[in-house]
């Protein structure tokens, strides 16, 4: 098993003829992901790589190909619009790789996705992979290995580092999900923890957080209350400087929360084994499994 994506994933690539979209569409096709459609307004009727039909709109793509999942590689200025379009067209799972989305766009896109019962992963995320089954996004398939560890992370390349550690030491993954580092994201740690908890194949969970916000603290509470499987965690940013801040609103709303120390303490209190460095992931998992 796996979470969110597997062999039944039928993918439409929004921005399939763009630089990033075409490169990664080929990578995903090579990995075995069922890429059933692409969308680029004005290129409807063409075929991508002589194989994948391209449509002007996601609605047409869904109608013609029964796509159930979408991945977004369009420029930041129109990425929110692509999210709206995917949700409006009945796509159930939307993965937005694009980085640099205005946060205020997300304040409007998130309730829209939510109202339609869809799930958004990202934006500004590497996507996800269920090794051996399906890969949606940009996580290099070559570093992953099918297995039983669930990985969820706010970062991109740091996730690769952790997956690399796991795979090279024989720990395959059920699914690896990069939820994205932006302030407003569609799928958070708790959503992924719940899915991994429900996935019978996943035996342990690796959770990679970073400074800023309180998602990790809430996730820790959730782990304490609900998760029976072993969880190993990491927090990046212990040495990061506190950002120069204008105004008082940030301090008022978040108080002193968001530091690495606070998050590590919350992890420890919740019984999460905390890595000091990425290379600790395998030794800690060994202890817990």
């Amino acid at each position: 098993m796996s979470i969110f994506i597997d062999e039944s994933t039928r993918l439409v690539v929004q921005g399939i003829t763009g630089r990033d979209g075409s490169f990664h569409a080929k990578q995903m096709m090579a990995y075995g992901t069922k890429v059933v459609a692409g969308v680029t307004p004005g290129k409807g009727g063409q075929r991508f790589e002589d194989a994948v039909p391209v449509f002007n709109t996601v609605a047409e793509a869904v109608l013609e190909t029964k796509a159930n999942t979408s991945v977004i590689y369009v420029p930041a200025a129109v990425a929110a619009s692509a999210i709206f379009e995917a949700a409006d067209s009945g796509i159930e799972l939307i993965i937005c790789i694009t980085e640099g989305l205005p946060v205020l766009d997300m304040t409007r896109a998130l309730p829209y996705v939510h109202e339609r019962g869809a799930r958004l992963i990202g934006p500004n995320c590497p996507g996800l992979i269920s090794p051996g089954k399906s890969k949606v996004g940009i996580i290099p398939g070559s570093i992953c290995k099918p297995g039983k560890i669930g990985v969820v992370s706010r970062s991109g390349t740091l996730t690769y580092e952790i997956i690399h550690q796991l795979s090279t030491h024989g720990y395959g993954q059920s699914s690896c999900v990069g939820i994205g580092g932006d302030p407003l994201i569609g799928t958070n740690f708790i959503h992924c923890l719940a899915a991994f908890a429900d996935d019978p194949e996943t035996t342990a969970i690796v959770m990679i957080g970073e400074i800023g916000g309180t998602d990790e603290q809430q996730a820790a509470e959730y782990v304490k209350d609900k998760i029976k499987k072993p969880v190993v965690g990491f927090i990046a940013g212990q040495t990061a400087p506190p950002g120069r801040r204008m105004g008082h609103a940030g301090a008022i709303i978040s108080g002193s929360s968001g530091t690495a120390a606070e998050k590590i303490a919350a992890f420890q209190k919740a019984g999460i084994s905390v890595m000091k460095r990425p290379a600790d992931v395998v030794p800690l998992l060994k202890e817990r499994l």
Partner: protein
């Protein structure tokens, strides 16, 4: 991107929020002329992107135009938290009956813009929030409807018992919310929102920060950037498409991805070193970005060793390798460099580096240990 007070006041004014008169000056003579035009007592305020201007001596009252000129002379060129004052705001010294606080910020938890108000405004607002949180009232605004009239009025009554003042404050809040979305703000703050002895409600001081991701589609707002008020190396990094924050250590770090960059810095510290910077070359780097990154790192005299840590994915390892080689043809690195480079096109990259006389490691811990050793002069 942070705006200056005078820029924020302009935006508020354009959105119909009552703001006292006043304008910006860059020389003592201009300050004097503005003070004469305003007449009466004025306040001279340093325009820098830092809090605590008052305590640092960057805000001074002047009874006469001559005094305003003298104050301007004192404040212009002053350093506040490392930033040189290049602009000052000259505004009338308002008579104030009460000081409140109104702020809007995007809140991660509710995933909405949150309006915060407090009848106890002014410079101690953070202390108010910490010690008497019940004096801070918050409302997460549903972006589908905006800040509704009754919601704004409810907040207005938290500030003022008088219905006219409550309505005036509500109107200001709705306009501030409108401005927030219109300019693509991440923060908009009126502190203090004052009442004058005649009962009117005005925005005395304003702060607005813009979400950098909004700038591309808002050239008018992007044009407000004042690079003279920012650290030069950060300006250079941004121009090159890099995210860079200077620190005090001696290991210059060049990493792809913010999370890996932070983890790398943490590992530098773990092995006894100190990172000289945070530097993220971003997702789809090209060789030129790497050249710019090395130029910025090597311009820091504290840097004793350079650490590359790249896990190629969307970033291609060969692009990074080419950038490193190109940089060394353009300028001298002066300090030792340790390169860790794996992932997409790794083999091509290693080949490129080898031909140029560099070697690349594959393990992150090994690379960090070596870099720390080189920076500190101790054996790894």
């Amino acid at each position: 991107m942070n705006l200056h007070e005078y820029q924020a006041r302009d935006i508020l004014r354009r959105h119909g929020i009552p703001v006292p008169p006043g304008d910006v000056a860059t020389t003592p003579a201009e300050a004097r002329a503005l003070a004469e035009k305003l007449g009466g007592k004025v306040v001279v305020k340093a325009q820098v992107h830092a809090g605590g201007r008052g305590k640092a001596g960057g805000v001074k009252l002047a009874k006469t135009a001559a005094e305003a000129e003298a104050n301007a002379k004192a404040i212009l060129g002053m350093k506040i938290k490392g930033l040189t004052v290049q602009k000052i705001l000259i505004a009338p010294a308002a008579e104030i009956a009460s000081e409140s606080y109104v702020g809007i910020i995007v809140d991660r938890a509710s995933q909405r813009a949150v309006v915060m108000v407090s009848p106890a405004g002014g410079i101690d607002i953070e202390e108010v929030a910490a010690t008497t949180p019940e004096k801070i009232h918050r409302l997460a605004v549903d972006p589908r409807y905006g800040l509704l009239a009754h919601q704004a009025l409810g907040l207005g009554f938290k500030l003022y018992g008088d219905v006219k003042q409550a309505r005036a404050a509500a109107d200001i809040m709705q306009k501030l919310y409108g401005a927030f979305y219109a300019v693509g703000a991440s923060l908009a703050e009126i502190n203090p929102l004052v009442t004058t002895p005649d009962g009117s409600v005005q925005a005395l001081d304003a702060k607005i920060s813009i979400d950098d991701n909004e700038l591309e589609r808002r050239p008018d707002i992007a044009a407000l950037r004042d690079t003279s008020a920012e650290a030069p190396e950060e300006v250079a990094a941004r121009d090159a498409g890099l995210t860079f924050i200077k620190l005090e250590g001696n290991v210059g770090c060049c990493v792809n991805g913010a999370g890996l960059a932070m983890a790398t810095m943490d590992l530098v510290k773990y092995y006894g070193g100190a990172p000289a910077n945070f530097l993220d070359i971003g997702g789809s780097s090209n060789p030129q970005k790497v050249v710019s990154a090395l130029r910025i790192i090597t311009s820091d005299p504290n840097v004793k060793a350079i650490l590359f840590n790249v896990f190629a994915g969307i970033t291609r390892a060969d692009d990074v390798a080419n950038g490193i080689v190109q940089a060394t043809t353009e300028f001298a690195l002066k300090v030792p460099m340790v390169i860790r480079l794996i992932g997409t096109n790794e083999a091509i990259a290693v080949d490129i580096l080898k031909k140029a006389g560099f070697s690349a490691l594959t393990d992150m811990d090994d690379a960090v240990k070596q870099a720390v050793a080189k920076a500190t002069g101790k054996a790894a």
